[in-house]
């Protein structure tokens, strides 16, 4: 685009300096704390962290909820995306707008709404009681279920958006062609749609998984201290115990998990491609 490479470099320089000075360097300093014990390099802080049963539970819970939210988002997301792309353009725009609308509302407001909806006197329990499904309202708040529901609602739009754009790039006649050649709907999905949209799935999956893992407000409000996740544990370590070493360890774990998730999903996608 630019005739002179130097011009291009010069134009990216301010943004690069900004990112390096105000993001990379402070993050580097903060994270290096997690590798130092009494001034020398060590991974002792990590061993300490994982030697606590409670920390292991929190780690596994975070992993589990992240994976569940990403998995369910993918299943629901494919169904939704398939319907959206098959709609005529005007209604597609409307439905797509509805899907993205929640992203424009603050996560605090959305999560607080769940506090009311999922409560004992809330909408969900009132319906269950009125339908005679249960006599005593279910306790949903402050459980993994509540956090799961909150995170799913928070991040599913990202999956749908990624899948819709992936499906829009799919050749229009791929599905009819597969059907004519005798594939059933399961085969159509598995061998045609999934194969042609895996990049969207990788992007959506990474966004939803890392988003769920690093969300703070939702697990704090809907889970509380009984359902700690890594992010809420990190906050607790800093504000309650003034323990910046554990906090840095958790931050590092979150970064590593985010990158690993992305690499793993990409790996799965390319493995299928080469088969």
């Amino acid at each position: 685009m630019f005739e002179n490479r130097a011009v291009g470099l010069a134009l990216t320089l301010p943004a690069a300096i900004f990112a390096a000075a105000l993001f990379l360097v402070p993050v580097g300093i903060l994270l290096s704390e997690a590798f130092r014990i009494d001034g020398s390099w060590s991974i002792g802080a990590y061993i300490d962290f994982f030697s606590s049963a409670r920390n292991r539970t929190v780690f596994l819970r975070t992993l589990k909820l992240g994976a569940f939210v990403a998995g369910v988002s993918a299943i629901v997301g494919y169904a939704a995306a398939f319907v959206i792309v098959s709609l005529p353009p005007t209604s597609r725009g409307r439905i797509f707008g509805l899907v993205t609308l929640p992203l424009m509302i603050s996560p605090v407001a959305r999560t607080y709404a769940w506090l009311v909806i999922l409560g004992r006197t809330g909408f969900v329990n009132q319906i269950l009681v009125n339908l005679g499904i249960t006599d005593t309202p279910f306790r949903i708040l402050f459980s993994e279920t509540a956090v799961f529901i909150g995170l799913l609602q928070l991040f599913m739009p990202l999956m749908i958006i990624s899948l819709v754009s992936a499906m829009e790039n799919m050749p229009k006649d791929a599905v009819p062609a597969a059907r004519i050649l005798g594939a059933n709907w399961f085969q159509v999905f598995w061998r045609v749609i999934l194969a042609l949209t895996r990049e969207g799935l990788v992007i959506g999956g990474t966004l939803v998984f890392t988003g769920s893992m690093t969300a703070y407000i939702t697990p704090a409000i809907l889970g509380g201290s009984k359902v700690l996740m890594l992010e809420t544990l990190l906050y607790q370590r800093v504000t309650v115990a003034n323990d910046f070493v554990s906090a840095s360890v958790i931050a590092m774990i979150l970064i590593v998990m985010s990158f690993s998730a992305n690499l793993l999903l990409k790996r799965i996608a390319t493995a299928r491609k080469s088969r």
């Binding site: 049963a53 409670r54 409560g119 006197t121 708040l141 009984k226 800093v238 003034n242």
Partner: protein
Amino acid sequence: MLKKIMLTSAATMLLTSGAFAQDKTLTISVYSFSQDAFKELVYGPFEEICDCKIVVETGNSIERLAKIEANKANPVIDMAVLSTHDALGAARKGLLQPIDASALSNYDKLYDIAKDPLGDMLGVGYTFYATSIVYRTDKVTVDSWADLLSPELAGNVALPDVSTNQGPPSLYMIGKAMGDTSTDLTASIAAVGENADDIVTFYVRSSQLAQLMQQEEIWAAPVGRFAWGRFKDNGLPMAWATPKEGQTGGMNVMVMTANNGNEELAHKFMDFWLSTEIQTALAEALVDSPANSEVVVSDEVAANLTYGAETVGQLDLLSPDTILDKRESWLDQWNTKVVK
């Protein structure tokens, strides 16, 4: 244009620093709670008589302590208000200096427990609060701390998290009700752990608790008296329990940072805050319960505060040394037994 911006920002700096208007500045570090009322009732009136400027820094205790510690060599903060145990923590790190009682004309008016709660005059109490149990009178009757773990309240009770100021005192009282008065809290933490599934949540903010009560998620929870106002008018039948084991609570103190060079003004400000007039104004605004024993308020106001020699004398408080020395062990026990 650029010139205009520079002029504006220079003017703003002049206005905000205020150092040009008055030569003396007092920098205080306080809780962010009720700052509008403090500005109107304490800081403003003091500025009028001292010919000085008060710079207010707010935040949670950890942030504020970290700042005081970071500027130890060259203190920015002159006086701070903290919980007794946070103040003792700061004193042990050498961040504080003794307060000169002779410089405080209102010192003798204080309740005895507020006079020197940390020892060596390192802090003076300016307010305290009782901690007891708020409950729904139409659902249960609470007359013991042990009721919190009773079958009647199973699935309908919230407890303060061990990391909050209400946590350890409440656990101490639960232990006391179980016949264990040790401050190791082993028995009560174990009991809470066994009943963890019956406890709706371990709250960290009293505002959060008020919402849970309003939504009928819970029927009872231990809470500081300062939060009672959020419950009493919520439209539900609420009561403040007077458990047979007594009530617990906490105290906040004023402290003087070491070597701040502004001791004279800081003492004047402390004395002003402790005066009968100001303590009465703060009590009437329901901001802080008075530590000054000469404060007289109406019954209506008193009902919302921790007021009167009798009430104050009956509070079963954990000492700041205990909280500071055992906090880590409580947190460890809690993490293994309660939040498994």
